[in-house]
């Protein structure tokens, strides 16, 4: 049963960690965007308005959760829960630090090290589509419906791009486990500098762009384009049910950043030194630092770019990202094949 206890503790810690992160993340985003737009942003609740998210959460909890007359009640209530569950599940395979050795036992800072972790990521992200699709449909109203149709088309399209961006990573590192992918990026250049998978630049770019689309963030936030379809799939949601969608979106932003760091930016890799306690906690610090930098990049992009038109979005996904990924995979396969087996005529 020790495995059971270990995993339970990890899941609990991860859950609390993600919720605290999201509270911070919402505040960071609002502050950062307001700085970029020459505004003050939230500044009433707590120092620098850091408790604003908490106040918003309390407000959402005490608001009435309205159910529209035409709603399909079962699915209407289930959709936010599915959304939140999918967002939380994704993080299970991401290692947030190097394995720590305590009293001769090694503990990995990762809930589960699946040998198909890369596929697991795709599987969970495909579940997230359901939350939005069902939310839109079950609301029984036209704007949510339009939003959910947009969402499913967009997420399916960009999931293909995301899957193809993962292939070169697996080809280069030769493993599908997250721990293996991170290990493969550790110090092999000059002894201590890791060779990060960011050298697969086309994949990195495609993955990042697909990540924006998968999380429905600007410039791909057509799913909830306020000027066109009110709030998209969550138009009819209020109170805590809306808050769940909101939290799930922010968890997804953090997860995609963490995933990009794990796959392309060396994960928890970085220089470690000092006494045991510093040495074992530095990888976590590196991981969080990289992830937060990427989160800030997400916010920066949101504040900078205007929303795309719908045909541009689909055209970009299918006619640019996917062909580029396919060509890059073939090129990489040839290069790796030559490196492994030599030229075909020798």
């Amino acid at each position: 049963m020790s495995l059971f206890i270990e995993v339970s503790i990890k899941v609990l810690v991860l859950f609390v960690f993600l919720l605290v992160t999201v509270l911070l993340l919402v505040w960071v985003e609002r502050k950062f965007v307001s700085d970029l737009q020459n505004r003050v942003g939230p500044d009433r609740a707590g120092p620098y308005g850091i408790l604003q998210t908490l106040a918003d959460g309390m407000k959402a909890m005490f608001k009435e959760s309205i159910t529209p007359t035409n709603a399909q009640v079962g699915l209407y209530i289930a959709a936010p829960i599915v959304s939140m569950t999918a967002a939380l599940l994704m993080f299970l395979v991401i290692p947030i630090g190097a394995p720590i050795e305590i009293n001769g036992t090694t503990y990995s800072l990762q809930v589960m090290d699946l040998n198909v972790a890369v596929l697991y990521v795709l599987a969970v992200s495909s579940v997230a589509v359901y939350a939005i699709t069902l939310a839109g449909w079950s609301s029984g109203s036209k704007y949510p419906m339009l939003g959910s149709v947009r969402a499913s088309a967009q997420m399916i399209s960009y999931e293909a791009g995301m899957g193809l961006a993962l292939v070169p990573v697996v080809m280069l590192t030769g493993t599908m486990t997250m721990s293996g992918i991170v290990e493969a990026q550790q110090g092999s250049f000059l002894g201590f500098l890791g060779v990060w998978n960011i050298i697969l630049i086309p994949s990195f770019v495609v993955f990042l762009i697909s990540g924006f689309a998968e999380t429905n963030r600007a410039p791909f936030d057509l799913v909830e384009a306020e000027q066109e379809i009110v709030g998209g799939f969550h138009t009819e949601y209020s109170g805590m049910r809306f808050a769940l969608f909101f939290l799930a979106e922010y968890i997804n932003v953090f997860t995609i950043s963490a995933l990009t760091v794990t796959l392309f930016l060396g994960g928890w890799g970085g220089p470690v030194f000092g006494p045991w306690i510093v040495e074992s906690s530095l990888p976590v610090v590196w991981f969080l630092a990289k992830t937060w930098l990427l989160v800030l990049f997400f916010v920066w992009v949101r504040a900078s770019l205007p929303r795309m038109r719908y045909d541009q979005l689909m055209g970009f996904g299918w006619k640019r990202l996917i062909p580029v990924s396919l060509a890059w995979i073939i090129l990489l396969a040839v290069v790796l094949g030559v490196r492994e087996f030599g030229m075909p005529w020798t």
Binding site: V116, A123, S126, T133
Partner: protein, 175 residues
């Protein structure tokens, strides 16, 4: 013990999903039932250490196929009552016989070594990692794999051909 409990729970979910898929009057709930069955089966694959198959099951069926189902159902609209086709005479009797025959053959297949290649409920030494599956797929079963690829490509091409090259005058074609 824990394994048995998990198996019973998810086997029940799979069966309930399958039954609700057939009996639900709303097509969206039918799709949800099928989805539940797919997920439960994926969990059963995980219990058999077939992680790769489980992940692929969720990606393909839950991710691609069912999303397309839902998409189509929603776009067509579920409010219109279905026009039931003509019933075949003695439909229920025929269905019952076919169902019984299917059930019998599944039981037979489960028990007969000459069909499955292993003993009934025997513990075949399964290795479900991606590497093991890849070795089998691109080693032992390469020809079969390529044949399947050909078959699926032909099916896709056939669909496109049926959709585009019909004997309909140009002006009547939509889109």
């Amino acid at each position: 013990m824990a394994e048995t409990i998990v198996f019973i729970i998810f086997a029940a979910v799979a069966l309930a999903g399958a039954v609700s898929m057939i009996t639900a009057s709303n097509p969206v709930y039918s799709a949800m039932g099928l989805l539940a069955a797919m997920f439960a089966i994926a969990v059963l694959y995980v219990m058999l250490d077939a992680h790769f198959v489980a992940a692929v099951q969720v990606i393909i069926y839950a991710g691609a196929v069912m999303t397309l189902f839902l998409f189509v159902i929603m776009l067509i609209g579920v409010d219109k009552p279905d026009a039931y086709g003509k019933q075949v005479p003695a439909q229920r009797v025929i269905t019952g016989i076919v169902a019984l025959g299917l059930f019998g053959s599944i039981v037979l297949a489960g028990r007969a070594a000459w069909i499955t290649g292993s003993n009934a409920f025997g513990t075949a030494n399964l290795n479900g990692t991606a590497e093991a599956v890849a070795d089998e797929l691109f080693g032992t079963w390469m020809i079969v794999f390529l044949a399947t690829v050909m078959l699926l490509t032909i099916a896709a091409l056939g669909t496109i051909a049926l959709a585009y090259f019909r004997d309909v005058p140009e002006e009547e074609m939509v889109g």
